[in-house]
């Protein structure tokens, strides 16, 4: 059993291993209890690159395409927010691969587009810098 906190716009702000107290809420936020284990809930939507997630990754410019591994178990599609642009990926066995080019220096911020369903935090947010 875990708790999730929603922002006033219903997007999921965070989820916690231990039960959150209603006193932890900021104005407009709400608290929900979810009958799931913390590790199970955290795997609902994950993004990784080169086997790493939950941290910022840096790659040199012109180092070839990067493969972002998208995992969303039990789903057939996943809508991804990439620097504010939404892209829907078909999933096979709950997984997809997204290629990112490294020709141009910049930052890719990837997270779930449906933030009312998936929390854009933890391992569901991935930042890749091409430097």
């Amino acid at each position: 059993m875990i708790t999730i906190i929603r922002n006033p716009d219903r997007s999921i702000k965070t989820y916690s291993e231990f039960s959150d107290d209603p006193a932890a809420l900021l104005p407009g936020e709400s608290l929900e209890t979810v009958n799931a284990a913390f590790s199970e809930y955290s795997r609902r939507f994950t993004l990784a690159c080169a086997g790493r997630s939950g941290e910022t990754l840096r790659f040199p410019r012109a180092s070839g395409d990067l493969t972002v591994e998208v995992r969303c178990p039990g789903e057939s599609t996943a809508a991804l927010d990439i620097n504010g642009q939404v892209e829907t990926l078909p999933l096979i066995n709950g997984q997809a691969a997204l290629l990112l080019g490294t020709e141009v220096p910049g930052t890719f911020v990837l997270k779930p587009a449906d933030t009312a369903r998936y929390c854009p935090a933890g391992q569901a947010i991935l930042v890749i810098e091409v430097v």
Binding site: T14, F18, G54, T56, G122, A124
Partner: protein
Amino acid sequence: MTYPISSDVSAGQATAAAHYNNLRRDALYFGQAPADSKSAGEFFARYAANLTVTYLATNRLRLAYSAYNPPAIVIGGCLLQPSASVDLAAGCFSGAAATYYIHAIRAAGSTSFTLSVNTTPADNDTSRPIGSCYWDGSNLSSIQSWYGSSPGLPAPGYDSGWFACAYNTTYTRVHGLGAVPKNHMLLHSASSDGSGENVLVLVGATTGGGCKSLVGFDAANAYITTDTASSGGCVYSRRRESGGGYYRLLCWI
């Protein structure tokens, strides 16, 4: 330093004043001159050791007995040592939230002591405070043993467990300690189970450069505001940079 300064007296030998005075100096001052040494009674008046108080369900306290490190305390000049664990009676906490002080209580005719709680730490010839705890109106937390035997850092008074974080967000955690923590540790993990390296969070990265610390406290809550940079708003360290991942907050009071 000579110790002891008293010596055996042979059978039939008259006991001189020096014999008695040396024996007295050995007993009271470990053989030293009264000008150079506190008396044993004064020295040990505040002695207390191995008094580790732990939680006992429901909303009770236990002072655990160990034959290897037996609890010991001096109260009102009396040397007290229980021979078994000492439990606080049920129903000692009620009413509004408050910090309670845990007292060891001496009674005439006993070489042991009992436990009591009070919202004041004042002591007297029959009572000495040995720790504190916080009553939030329903539950006990933050049990502190002032004379515990546990080596190293005690268990934290608050542990948030892991929770998902993202850059540019404020998280409130209810630590419920009743006071601003004296120490804290914010850890970052890239995985939800905390496996792998846990990085100590001191600052987050700010968009456009620079960094800022993230954590504040009051008597009830901890506030963590992650910084604005997507690449390092949650942790900005030589060990790791991240705008996501998981936090775990530990607090000591």
